[in-house]
């Protein structure tokens, strides 16, 4: 009877185990890379919106973030402006622009405009705007140069690592409170020195690296 397995089968078997392992690891790494890729994290890609609202135009006219994002200083959510806020101005100016048709329709029918979310953390993460705003973290630090975006995109991938980077050392990013809404603020050369001073002054509570405790964000 002929042999089913030749002696070389041993090597093939060993090699195939090895290749299978490599393949699995490569596959897992690949999955992880995809998971972290800018494509999946949706960075730098504007989303389709019902109205092509341009931050670049509106912010550069000197409209403050808080004119529209009214609750950013006192609550967890920044608030997306209601149709009424758009109509403050657009009932009178550019009132015939075809681009604004959905806004007028929403105003007349009372149906909400359905904006698509650009930033969206998983629901098991707790985030709060007011604490960051009141402790001197600028909008730019997390959202990038919104004032230059014709359509907002996600500047940061919003990984947990990213939150922790700052929570470990807020002094690297903190700025004077009156500069939080300033989109053109430049970090001074002595950021660390100033940062340490501001961390004390604003009572940033980070004794024993408290801000990296899991319960801070997963509560």
């Amino acid at each position: 009877m002929a042999q089913v397995f030749r002696p070389s089968a041993n090597t093939i078997a060993k090699a195939s185990i090895f290749f299978l392992m490599v393949l699995t690891i490569a596959g897992l790494c690949g999955l992880d890379l995809i998971h972290r890729s800018p494509y999946v994290r949706y960075t730098h890609r504007p989303k389709e919106q019902p109205v092509p609202f341009s931050h670049k135009h509106h912010v550069n006219m000197g409209i403050d973030c808080r004119y529209c994002h009214t609750t950013v200083e006192e609550s967890a959510s920044a608030n997306i402006p209601s149709t009424r806020i758009c109509m403050n101005c657009h009932s009178t100016i550019w009132k015939d622009s075809p681009m604004l048709e959905p806004v007028r329709e929403s105003w007349q029918t009372g149906k909400s405009l359905e904006w698509n979310r650009v930033h969206d953390l998983p629901d098991f993460v707790y985030f709060n705007h007011s604490i960051h705003i009141n402790k001197g973290i600028g909008c730019v630090t997390c959202h990038g140069p919104v004032d230059e975006m014709p359509l907002v995109h996600r500047e940061k991938p919003l990984f947990m690592k990213w939150c922790l980077e700052c929570h470990k050392a807020p002094e690297k990013f903190i700025r004077p409170q009156e500069e939080v809404f300033n989109m053109d603020y430049k970090e001074p050369k002595n950021q660390l020195e100033l940062g340490r001073k501001l961390v004390k002054e604003y009572h940033v509570q980070n004794e024993n690296n408290r801000l990296t405790d899991c319960w801070i964000c997963h509560r």
């Binding site: 006219m61 000197g62 808080r66 967890a76 608030n79 806020i85 109509m87 009178t92 100016i93």
Partner: protein, 190 residues
């Protein structure tokens, strides 16, 4: 082998599904779309004709700027430096886009075609009562929209106080400057 592969695929698939459900839980986040309510809003408006507990807003002075039906000539709480600072801050966010930071009515939005408001520094507006200014913010005036949904009553009064400060600042004379400061001003000028 097939069992192992299909088993792990099943686990993986299940895991993904479970993870997705953790990412998007059945709770509503602020302003999230609802597929339960007909108008798709998860934030519900009050039933018409109802008043939330503690919001009867009976204080006509604070909420409407009126005393016995006439515009009040006082602000309903003491004006401190903090109140003025708050007023300045809110004014620069919500009003300066049209009225400009000094109140002459030459803001950016006006330059882009919005109706030009009167300057705050005309005689008529200087003499108007605080209650009248409050009423303009509260209910709007002509083509100016109401700001009652962007400013709470305390902030509206703070803005009124700040407008008064602006009006004073634009008609101030040397006599209004405290004595010690006056000397400093005069020496600086030379």
């Amino acid at each position: 082998m097939i069992c192992l592969v299909s088993g792990s695929l099943l686990l993986f698939g299940n895991g993904c599904e479970l993870r997705k459900r953790m990412y998007d839980q059945p709770k509503y986040e602020p302003l999230e779309q609802s597929d339960f309510f007909g108008d798709a809003r998860s934030a519900r408006a009050l039933v018409e004709g109802t008043v939330p507990r503690g919001h009867l807003n009976e204080d006509m002075h604070l909420y409407e700027g009126k005393i016995n039906g006439a515009f009040a000539d006082t602000v309903p709480f003491p004006i401190t430096k903090e109140v003025l600072k708050r007023g300045q801050n809110r004014y620069n966010i919500y009003c300066a886009v049209c009225h400009d930071r000094a109140g002459y009515g030459n803001g950016m939005i006006v330059q882009r075609g919005f109706k030009r408001p009167s300057s705050y520094h005309i005689d008529r507006l200087r003499k108007e009562k605080p209650g009248y200014l409050y009423d303009v913010i509260n209910r709007g005036f002509g083509s100016m929209p109401s700001y009652s949904h962007q400013l709470n009553p305390e902030d509206r009064w703070a803005v009124v106080a700040y407008i008064r400060a602006l009006q004073l600042s634009q008609s101030a004379t040397l006599e209004d400057v405290p004595k010690q400061e006056r000397e400093k001003l005069l020496t600086e000028k030379q």
